[in-house]
């Protein structure tokens, strides 16, 4: 069995995130990292192998600019066996529908029985990529999974829904998105970081995947940003710097003043 893990390059959590007022796209010029939710997906792939499933290979797949190679190198250090970067000037500015089309085409070529993704991207906060990729691949889908088990050719998953937890089963090949509750990702060892440079990292273009370029990139986007504006103003809150618990009195004074105690 082979596993493909989709990994998105997102601005790092510590970077100042902004939308470029000219392109109306996210400014991706700063530090980047693998989408943390996708790191949970990669960790789960590794744990599936460690739990004894016969996993032939784990391939990390990313669509992004050339710079996204760094993110795939991290994925290789974390435990992916090889990586595929789909990169092409024609893909820049793709919307969700376009990105799903590209990712589905890319993972579709990896001979993967299980496609794993994080349940959302940390930069866009959308929960949609797994379901869109599954529809393109015409494969069963389970999203927002907090516990995952493989039982022969069947995925057994537990996911949180509005009323509690759903228990869902799906035959392989399947597409699964995972929540950040599913595991605790490991940190790569120095040896793994060094070894990552020797693992295969392949770059493919839109033409390599046989993509219809009318469906991708800024021109192919069906969702178009019209305006960017500041949020409605709100009152500035009171900020208290605590030292060893000394803020407690100030908090009690605030509560008392507000009549809350």
């Amino acid at each position: 069995m082979n596993i493909a893990v989709c990994v998105k390059e997102v601005p790092s959590a510590t970077s100042q995130r902004r939308l470029d007022p000219g392109t109306k796209r996210l400014d991706r010029s700063g530090d980047s990292e693998p989408n943390p939710f996708d790191v949970h997906a990669l960790e789960e792939a590794i744990q599936i192998r460690e739990r004894g499933a016969d996993v032939g290979e784990i391939v990390a797949v990313c669509m992004g600019p050339e710079s996204a190679q760094r993110v795939l190198t991290k994925a290789l250090a974390l435990g992916a066996d090889r990586a595929v970067l789909v990169t092409d000037a024609a893909l820049a500015g793709s919307d969700i529908a376009g990105t799903a089309y590209v990712l589905a085409a890319a993972v579709g070529k990896q001979d993967a029985d299980l496609v794993l993704l994080g349940q959302q991207a940390a930069d866009a906060d959308c929960y949609v990529m797994a379901a869109a990729v599954a529809d393109h691949l015409r494969r069963p889908l389970v999203t927002q999974v907090a516990e995952l088990r493989l039982d022969g050719g069947t995925v057994k998953a537990k996911r949180q829904a509005e009323h509690g937890y759903d228990l869902i089963e799906a035959p392989l090949p399947a597409v699964v998105s995972v929540s950040d509750a599913i595991n605790t990702p490991r940190l790569p060892s120095i040896k793994a970081i060094m070894g990552a440079k020797r693992k295969p990292l392949e770059t493919v273009s839109a033409a390599d995947l046989g993509l219809d370029t009318g469906r991708v990139g800024g021109d192919g986007a069906r969702s178009v940003v019209r305006t960017i504006s500041p949020p409605p103003p709100k009152a500035e809150g009171l900020k208290i710097e605590d030292s060893g618990g000394d803020s407690a009195e100030k908090v009690v004074a605030f509560l008392s003043e507000k009549g809350l105690i």
């Binding site: 529908a97 089309y101 929960y127 949609v128 509005e162 009323h163 509690g164 809350l260």
Partner: protein, 319 residues
């Protein structure tokens, strides 16, 4: 069928307030709004009641394959009608999001997520969302076919007066073999009994920043001293620190207490949408960059493990 089509999700006949609220908002835009419900054994009277929430008519997809609580068969059922609509709208929810995303792929349609408002502009629907931890508002339109809108949790309130009915029309349904390959085999319901946190005037919530389940008693003690109840984020519920019934947020409960004290809660959007309606929000977090400080009335930058016992002690001393 031009116009707006609103998919209203239901869980065994219980209509989602997220879908009903969006339906009401869509109706305010002035055009004729069609609601779409899918399931197995749907009653016409029940479906027609969506007229009271703003639907001019209701499309019903009724098939045994649609009663399983999973998204993929619903995409099959919805796609033909969706392809003829100007836009297809979805309230927040786990299944609704999956249907919206699957439909976007099926139709090659643009999708706008986390939508907090919709409007008509230049002859088409536009969707507005807060982005990047709510630091910027982004308005999007659609081209080349229907637009798909997925709402943020609790962005659209349900009509208070929902009397009225709408004509019901049944659509033919063809479900693909692969769409029904996954199956819902069971459910772990949220525990009933205990305390209903949606009724509490004061909530003290526990987030991952509290370190571990061994520190939950600190939160319980503070809640007790205040005469309040304990709430939690999804992360700590999924980690098993506290039961699901305490969870606030997108997939948990929506609360609006007079006072909400968030301990070690980062304030991710998924939590914020469940508690932003609280009267006064006090946040205690070690990370001064935590998003919760952006919308807290009082932000305490510090270690909740050190602060909570002192706070509890001071409050207890007041009697």
């Amino acid at each position: 069928m031009a116009g707006l089509l609103v998919y209203v999700h239901h869980d065994d006949g219980e209509l989602s307030p997220q879908g009903l609220g969006l339906l009401a908002r869509a109706a305010e835009l002035g055009g004729e709004v069609t609601a779409f419900v899918a399931g197995s054994g749907i009653d016409d009277g029940w479906a027609g009641s969506l007229g009271g929430h703003g639907a001019a008519r209701v499309l019903v997809a009724d098939d045994a394959a649609l009663g399983g609580g999973l998204s993929q068969p619903i995409v099959d059922a919805l796609a033909p009608a969706a392809g003829e609509a100007d836009a297809v709208l979805f309230g927040a929810g786990v299944v609704s999001a999956d249907v919206a995303a699957g439909l976007a792929a099926r139709l090659g349609a643009g999708i706008a997520c986390e939508t907090t408002d919709i409007a008509m502009a230049d002859g088409g629907l536009v969707a507005t969302r807060p982005a990047l931890d709510d630091t910027v508002m982004v308005e999007s339109g659609f081209s080349g076919g229907p637009g798909i809108v997925l709402a943020r949790a609790n962005a659209f309130p349900v009509r208070e007066d929902a009397s009225g009915t709408a004509p019901v029309e049944r659509v033919s349904v063809t479900v693909e073999e692969w769409s029904r390959a996954a199956s819902l085999t069971g459910r772990e319901e949220a525990e009933s009994g205990g305390v209903d946190i949606t009724e509490a005037d004061i909530l003290v919530s526990v987030g991952r920043g509290m370190g571990g389940p061994e520190n939950v008693p600190l939160v319980e003690a503070l809640a007790k001293a205040l005469g309040g109840e304990v709430a939690a984020t999804r992360a700590v519920v999924d980690a098993g620190w506290v039961p699901y019934s305490m969870q606030v947020g997108q997939t948990g409960k929506t609360v609006s207490p007079k006072l909400y004290i968030a301990c070690g809660v980062s304030g991710a959007i998924q939590h914020k949408v469940g508690m932003a309606g609280a009267g006064t929000i006090i946040a205690i977090n070690k990370d001064q960059n935590a998003p919760i400080f952006e919308f807290a009335d009082v932000g305490v930058v510090g270690d909740a493990l050190a602060i909570l016992p002192k706070l509890t002690e001071l409050l207890a001393a007041r009697g």
